[in-house]
């Protein structure tokens, strides 16, 4: 049963990491437009803001 001394902290740390990731996602507004983000992955356009300088800008459309 000594294994519990490792397993329980590990499970708590893993869960805690998940919780921290959730907090991070929430604070960085990732739940503001879930539908849009899901659709944007299908676009060919640049989706990085700010966009790169106009000279280098890729213009797929």
């Amino acid at each position: 049963m000594e294994i519990l001394a490792y397993l329980i902290p590990i499970s708590l740390i893993l869960g805690g990491t998940g919780l921290a990731a959730f907090f991070w996602a929430m604070r960085s507004h990732q739940f503001d437009d879930p539908e849009g983000d899901a659709a944007r992955i299908l676009c060919d356009d640049w989706d990085q803001n700010p966009k790169p300088a106009p000279a280098k800008q890729a213009k797929p459309l």
Binding site: M26, D32, E35, D37, A39, P50
Partner: protein, 736 residues
Amino acid sequence: MTIAAAVAWQDVERASPGACPACAVASSANALAEMAGRADVGVMLSLPSAHCAACISTVEHTLMAVPGISSARVNLTLKRVSVSAAPDVAPAQMIAALTAAGYEAHELDRGILSTTNMDQQGRELLMRLGVAFFSMMNIMLLSVAVWSGAEGATRDLFHWISALIAIPTVIFAGQPFFRSAWASLRVWRLGMDVPISLALILASSISLFETIQGGHQAYFDAAVMLCFFLLLGRYLDHRTRALARSAAEELAALEVPRATVLVDGCDVVRPIAEVRVGDHVRVRPGGRMPVDGIVTHGTSELDRSLLTGESLPVFAGPGMAVSAGEVNLTGPLTLRVTAAGKDSSLHRMADLVAVAESAKTRYTTLAERAASWYSPLVHLLSFSAFGFWMWKTGGDLRFAINVSAAVLIITCPCALGLAVPAVVTSASGRLFRKGLLIKNGTALERLAEVDTVVLDKTGTLTMGSPEPVDFAVHPAWVAEIAAGLAGASSHPLASALAKKAADVGICAARIEDVQEVPGYGVKGRYQGAEVRLGRADWCGGAPLDVTATYLRSGNQTHAFAFEDNLRPGAEAAIAAFKAMGKDIRLISGDVEGAVGALAARLGIDDWTANALPAQKVALVAGLTQSGRKVLMIGDGLNDTAALAAAHVSISPATALDAARVASDIVLLGSSIAPVADALRISGQTRRRIIENFLISGGYNVIAVPLALVGMATPLAAALAMSLSSITVSLNALRLK
């Protein structure tokens, strides 16, 4: 908005030209230098028809192509686009660009849209939900070990670790329940949150006591699970309400009010709030009166259809009083302001509506009705179990408290808390995708009870855009002259006539000296003789009882009759209402001829023309008194009071502010067909809510007797709770 977008937004607001490359593309170096001194402004547009990835890129590219716009970002969830542009780019330009690309757009007021407070609450709930989920999962792992037979020191260790996770979680995540329970206890009422808080506190403390005593059973998992499921319901409920609230604000913001004020002979555009009584305001042809006033200069015709339902424009000249909301058609007008903003007739109407609105909030929802008998029952059961076991066991306090805690945990309205929010969230999401905004939380339930549909004509069943009907009966030369004159005017009847002529292949006759006489019509010379196209009295004709324009040539007068374009989906919607067995009535302020023709075309038997606003209210009130549940669909100021008086009301997005404020549901797209879907979905919603109550009640019927006789284990509590919550959520998702 992602982080990147948020960063970009800030960048843009700082307006450093280097940071927004699109500005650099759009403007010459000259313009850039000029722009460096001024900050870009943010504009928010509502985009009801955006729905896919292609829409995002089309909209963003269309907007970026407009000179002066530095960034555009679509939020598909909220169906909005936030644009930042140089201050001289008018929102009207963006809307025009989007309309050309095939997207309907409305401007929103960013100031009103700041929903920071609501966002904060939502985020807080989401945070508590995350914490509760984390704890629930970890405690569940430990509990599974205990349920499968962990003994002695191991069990105690697991209980202690569970306690260490659960107690802080319950204290943190349970706060919304504790706060609202305290608030309702202070006014001597038993809300839904009292049994919840009691269950949370009792379950945690009895489990802690058992853990200290080295007992067999601890309810930490149940306490945390209860927290999680109830918070989930609370969060869904909050989100629906936040959406409804932002929808209401969005609508209040739809028509961003500005007026062109004459200051020392110059035109200055000002927000409506800064216009004072006595100011002179200029209204261009095609513009809407921003204020109440008296015409001082100019003659024109006014479209009053939104206010009165008349589809025939009326003459306006100096000395005439005009009201906010009327549309100026042909000539520029200058008004002396008699009332602006809060005092204008539009706003006074809105105040009347607010009074009618408060009556609506008295509607008791299914959830409230369920809570009102459920909550006392739970307490009664729990306390009688406690009393019975105290007597039966001869004062075994520990056992009695254990039983009453188990009863509270099992009866706790876990599924009940989810039953309504899950269904309403799912239904309003579905309606939102069809282009319907639910402004009021109880609107769906009220919509389900509707048995009579009352419709307005102008602007609701019709688009308010006229179409000539008897064009073909006129001799070719008459049509040619009419087309020639009509081409010179931007009056809606004239443009419709010119368009029709072009469609049927009639060449416009060449008319000389064409001149628009604002308020009357167009005149010119054809083969040396004067010809006129315009109002009946000006052209010397007898007015028809339908919308018409008249052509005077020589000493003959020819009348061109018009009919309003049907709103897309109107026929389908009426057919669907009929199929559902609803009673349909048409009531309009327009003349008999126009209303009768439309009623015949749509197959509506019961229609009323020339109705004053008070008659509309009387009709709705009369129906309501005879026990009918009325759905009112209308868009004009003359419908506003009727909209507020009806059991539930719908208005199109093109309606006046006051009408939209008064209605519970707003139709964003131009088709009226989704209203029939809304009726169907609301019926389903109501059924699902009742089913959900039955399901969660069913679990209680099985589990409560077990708890009462003291046989409920933590495992049984956990099973009953999670199974009922999951069934209820799945049932909500079945909405089609």
